[in-house]
């Protein structure tokens, strides 16, 4: 609850025009891209600078008002859904790229910068920022850092975490701290930079970041390998990596997903095969050429029915863009689309694909699977209808079993979407009770009044583990 007194104090900091508490204004910040989560905040606030953020945080901390930092609201774990009310904090005034440092190969920016704008700005200078989440044209860098976003290039280049060098953070008590620096080496104290990356807004507000850049690869090639068996496609993935090739992209798409993507994108994707792999390699031309040939050979050995190399960059970009729309395109199939991102070690990918299919059959559900196969990061997606409670129950059971299986294979409940509120009940499965306790200790130390995005990461109750029939 925001009393009149608190509202007055907040508007005194940011100005009336940056404080909004109308019903419609609150409604449109009551959700993110996660299905089935909606909760009205009490107000929306858009501070103009770090100092104002610190002031706002101090007031909220004093009165126990929850703060939910929000970029573009594209996350898939309910991370920016204000489940406990409070204020939604926007970064529309903090949206500048502050510096591209071509000597140190870094970029310093504010959290409101759109990921794609950053990528374009650095590429114009011949530099490369690899993390490319599916929502990169919409998402903000603040969101990417808080969620530790992945993307299609994760296999070779890593994820957001691997590029964050320094942060400016407003802590719950209003202190402003700076972590890291433009440094290749830095062991001065705890690695707070890494701690805050992926902290989902539960520890503090990130107000500035310095990111690592690398030289842009000289060339890139893209191909599609077509399979009549899911397992054959999955086996190709493990075999490519076992052959000591690290492709830039190694994406898996099954037939139902191909069908919906093609219905939207209309770029001539094959819909008469059971699965495809979207494979890319970048780097010096001779190495790209060599790797592509080798991978083509492996795919064919593993029963690929055909391998098609993209003839132009336009064609390649169309394939990548189409892949990025997979989730939203799947939303065509049904009113509700539930997606997960269970992740396993790369070597276990074919076991996981098979397990997902068995589980779908067991619970009599349609589950479409696509994802970053090369990262062991799959996105089993279930088209369903939230109004059908009986089916939703089965969906939940099926996904619980998928999580269980992933953990059994040495994997995790979420590879890149985050825990948020959606996966909080399952976190203990991965971390154990002691792991949760250690994480909670960090949270309590930094945010004793629990105002920083409360209700996220840690669930009130853990789900009971299902017993997987073996």
């Amino acid at each position: 609850m925001i009393t009149k007194e608190i509202a007055q104090k907040l508007t005194a900091v940011v100005g009336n025009e940056n404080y909004q508490d109308s019903k419609a204004g609150r409604l449109v910040y009551s959700y993110d891209a996660t299905p089935n989560f909606q909760s009205l905040p009490d107000a929306i606030i858009s501070p103009r600078n770090t100092k104002e953020i610190a002031e706002v945080v101090k007031i909220c901390n004093e009165y126990g008002v929850p703060i939910v930092p929000r970029g573009s609201g594209t996350n898939l774990c309910g991370g920016t859904c204000p489940t406990e009310g409070g204020i939604v904090l926007l970064f529309k005034h903090l949206n500048k790229i502050l510096e591209i440092d071509e000597e140190n190969l870094t970029v310093t920016l504010q959290p409101g910068v759109i990921t794609f704008d950053l990528i374009q700005a650095v590429e114009a200078k011949g530099l490369f920022y690899p993390p490319d989440p599916g929502s990169m044209k919409i998402s903000t860098m603040g969101g990417n850092i808080n969620e530790n976003s992945g993307g299609l290039r994760g296999l070779k280049y890593g994820v957001t975490r691997d590029y964050v060098m320094a942060l400016e953070i407003v802590l719950a008590n209003g202190d402003i701290i700076r972590t890291g620096g433009k440094l290749a080496k830095d062991v001065a104290g705890y690695d707070f930079t890494r701690l805050f990356v992926g902290s989902e807004g539960t520890l503090g507000i990130i107000t500035e970041a310095t990111l690592k850049l690398i030289p842009i690869p000289e060339t890139k090639k893209t191909m599609l390998a077509l399979y009549q068996s899911l397992e054959a496609a999955a086996k190709s993935v493990s075999k490519i990596i076992a052959s000591k090739i690290i492709p830039a992209t190694l994406e898996f798409i099954d037939q139902p997903t191909l069908e919906v993507i093609e219905a939207y994108a209309q770029i001539g994707l094959p819909t008469d095969v059971k699965a495809v792999l979207l494979i890319e390699q970048d780097g010096p031309p001779e190495i790209v050429e060599r790797d592509m040939l080798k991978m083509e050979e492996i795919c064919k050995q593993e029963q690929a029915v055909s391998v098609q190399v993209a003839k132009s960059e336009e064609e390649a970009e169309a394939l990548r863009t189409a892949r990025r729309t997979a989730l939203s395109a799947l939303a065509r199939l049904s009113p509700t689309t539930i997606l997960e991102d269970a992740t396993v070690p790369r070597s276990e990918i074919s076991k996981m694909v098979n397990a997902i299919n068995d589980i779908a059959e067991k619970y009599n559900l349609k589950i479409c699977t696509f994802g970053h196969a090369g990262d062991g990061n799959l996105h089993p997606t279930c088209p369903t209808d939230a109004r059908n409670h009986e089916e939703m129950e089965r969906v939940e059971q099926a996904f619980a079993e998928i999580f269980e299986k992933a953990i059994e294979l040495g994997g995790t409940i979420t590879g890149e979407h985050g825990v948020g509120v959606m996966k909080a009940p399952y976190l203990e499965w991965k971390l154990g009770r002691e792991g949760i306790a250690a994480m909670k200790a960090v949270k309590t130390a930094l945010d004793p009044n629990n105002v920083m995005n409360p209700g996220k990461v840690f669930a009130k109750d853990s789900r009971k583990r299902v017993v997987v029939s073996k």
Binding site: P35, I138, Y264, S328, A331, R332, P335
Partner: protein, 446 residues
């Protein structure tokens, strides 16, 4: 002000009439956000995004919020450009949702007497009647030709109008005479070997204020080898009504047009205004509750094609020598032509085929110019903000000719050029006028 009683009525109708499946089809991924001009220009305000507007509509249906003034403002500020539709992977029909919501609000809201009078006069009294459209355009012609225009400008009376309207008065085209507007052909032969038989949808404004452009269109069709039928019983497409919450009148006009073009035995029905085309192509949705009319509407829409599409199809640009004095040309997409009619490459192909020109694509050519029917009058602040951005992009190309494919966009471009002081050395033209100029022919049709 919307009274509590009005709000209750609106809410009830939302629950009865809004398509729940379509609302649920939006999975809130946000892929629409970067395509939405009002989201961008409002400083990324979710209330002014397609995702936000759908969430508001759904919340009204679900009873989570009341359809208060903020909700209404959010829906009013939407341009209806539908740029969110082609980028929506889930295929949400946003335009249909918006139209329904606006219709419900309008039907249940008591407008003030002056607003009601004007709406009634314009929507029911004027646009559905082509003879009255001619009369009012004729009056404008009288104003322009009689010396009244000069007099009015000299007296400074224009200064009494809001800035926009005063500028708009300046950019209106010189309109044709009453006689020119009355003597319209009903049938025109092809010139040279016949390739297609087509019917021409003339439109209300296009056949009065932009009559020259209609003549040019027919001339191009003739040159392309098309035999043309122009049914007299056709009327305004109804877009203005549909977009302003006057659905019932729009339906009547749709039926009239379907009837007018049925049984003509033509290959295509040709339009030259993106705004009309997009409304015509949605007739099957407009009439979806009437099975028989819906089927007739589908037959109608299947034949619909923009002038640029048919010209490309019959290789007009390869068969006819197109040449212009050297100039830099850029193109502003008509949103409805691009997003609803899905015509984007044909106009570009045609322009690029003209010898002597330097075609330069402007940044965000696919972003709305802010014209959007009567939007530039009723939401002029946002409209001008959007237009300023557009002009910046146009200027960056150094173009001296800005080409459009819809009368509203054309006027808005002229307005933008006037505001930027570009009118003296640059021009805005409809693509068919440019193409005709490039053929070296005159817009004389017989």
């Amino acid at each position: 002000m919307t009274t509590v009683k009005e709000q209750e009525a609106i809410q009830k109708q939302f629950q009865e009439r809004m398509d729940e499946n379509e609302l649920l089809n939006c999975m809130r991924c946000g892929f629409c956000l970067p395509s939405c001009p009002t989201y961008i220009e409002s400083g990324f305000n979710e209330s002014h995004s397609p995702r936000g507007r759908i969430a508001l509509m759904k919340a009204v249906v679900d009873g989570v919020i009341e359809p208060d003034e903020d909700v209404e403002h959010s829906l009013n500020l939407c341009l209806g450009c539908r740029a969110c539709e082609p980028v929506c992977p889930s295929g949400v029909k946003y335009g249909h949702l918006l139209e329904e919501a606006r219709d419900i609000i309008n039907q249940n809201k008591k407008h003030s007497l002056p607003v009601r009078t004007v709406r009634k006069a314009v929507f029911n009294g004027l646009f559905p009647h082509q003879n009255r459209m001619r009369t009012i355009t004729g009056l404008l012609g009288f104003y322009q030709r009689s010396g009244l225009q000069n007099a009015a400008r000299k007296t400074g009376i224009m200064k009494l109008l809001p800035d926009n309207l005063a500028t708009m008065e300046k950019i209106l085209p010189a309109v044709p005479t009453m006689k020119e507007m009355r003597d319209r052909p009903e049938h025109l032969p092809a010139q040279g070997p016949k390739t297609k038989k087509v019917a021409f949808f003339t439109g209300c404004l296009m056949d009065t204020m932009f009559l020259e452009t209609n003549n040019a269109t027919m001339k191009l069709l003739q040159l392309a080898g098309c035999e043309i039928v122009i049914p007299k019983s056709q009327s305004c497409c109804g877009a203005l009504h549909g977009h302003s919450g006057e659905k019932a009148t729009a339906k009547e006009m749709a039926k009239r047009n379907i009837q007018a073009f049925e049984d003509l035995d033509v290959d295509y029905i040709i339009t030259n205004a993106g705004g009309c085309g997009a409304f015509l192509i949605d007739y099957d949705h407009l009439l979806k509750d009437d099975k028989l009319w819906k089927e007739r509407a589908i037959e109608f829409k299947d034949k619909l094609k923009d002038i640029t599409e048919i010209l490309v199809e019959v290789d007009f640009h390869k068969n006819i020598n197109l040449r212009l004095p050297h100039q830099i040309i850029t193109y502003q997409d008509s949103c409805h032509l691009r997003n609803v009619m899905k015509t984007a490459s044909a106009p570009r192909k045609l322009m690029q085929a003209i010898e002597g020109i330097d075609y330069r694509e402007m940044k965000d050519a696919d972003r709305c110019c802010g014209s959007a029917g009567i939007y530039n009058i009723v939401e002029s602040e946002m409209s001008m903000q959007i237009l300023d951005y557009k002009m910046e992009q146009a200027k960056a190309t150094h173009a001296t000719t800005i080409v459009t494919a819809n009368p509203g966009c054309l006027l808005q471009m002229k307005l933008g050029m006037e505001r930027e002081g570009l009118s003296s050395h640059a021009r805005a033209v409809h693509i068919v006028d440019l193409l005709l100029e490039a053929t070296g022919e005159e817009a004389v049709i017989k």
